[in-house]
Amino acid sequence: MTGIVATISSGKGGVGKSTTTANLGIALASLGKKVVCIDSDIGLRNLDVVLGLENRIVYDLVDVIEGRCRLQQAMIRDKRQPELSLIPAAQTRDKSAVSPADMIRICDQLKEEMDWILIDSPAGIERGFRNALAPADLILVVTNPEVSAVRDADRVIGLVESEQKGPAKLIINRLNSALVKRGDMLNAEDVQDLLAIELIGIVPEDELVLISTNRGQPVVLDQKSDAGLAFMNIARRLNGEEVPFMRLDGKKDLFSSITNLLRFGGK
């Protein structure tokens, strides 16, 4: 088996990288794929709480790199989705504890048994970002329809290109259709026009994201959530399916309603 390493990046912090990583991880696992999520934000561990796995951490990424445990021992299996596991970041270390070569070595090992390796990149464009970029086969850039997030995304897209890792794919997160309608928020077309890379997902702003994250249950598990459906659609597109983009005017088209119903096999 040769898995695909997808790095989720953004430049700017707080645009929803960890939320995206967690939800894509669960969504891909629910589609029957073997997935591991790696939190590469050393010193600012967060993917564990977003996934609700914070109480089960024994070993972390730096423990693997420094040989204190085997790779398997640092992989926390998600009980909701047995095909999903998490390698948490070390909390009391800094980015210099990991090198790009370490990340490549670990991912090469994981690729043998996994379909997807999702790396949650830290914000910024320094060492931590370089570590997350090094093993990537595919880069997903998350942005919000907002000036600073779009500018930072453009910078990241440029760096990805200059490292010959492009073209990156774009996820627009937190699109507020009411603000778009009023002309007070960039719409998906505007953002794509500015950044000029392929769009792989539009995630509407949805308060259920916050609520589900409070509970440690990523929103993709909530069948009532539009954001959850959007993440599921991205996962399907990553798997090579052609999935039309959701209508974001509040009305669901027939296709979305059906996929929403079938999302977890009626569970």
Binding site: V150, D154, R155, V180, G183, D184, D193
Partner: protein, 90 residues
Amino acid sequence: MFSFLERVSSNKKSSKDLAKERLKLVLIHDRIDMPREKLEDLKNELLSVISRYVDIETSMVKIDIARDERQQRLIADIPLKTATSNKIRK
């Protein structure tokens, strides 16, 4: 006066149109790593070099950076005065 006009016209524009316009410019300058003032210098120097060889219709010069997907190109449209019109003026 200019800033007044700018304000009046910007009031009619939606905030997202302004955001997009501003971002377009910012991204161009970020991508080529050249601030706007430097581009002005480049334009002036370019024109002075060219005008050493031929006469330029200065008022009709257009030099700008255009975006084509993720590629930027410097596009210069520099109308030249014809030799006859020079002679007539003389």
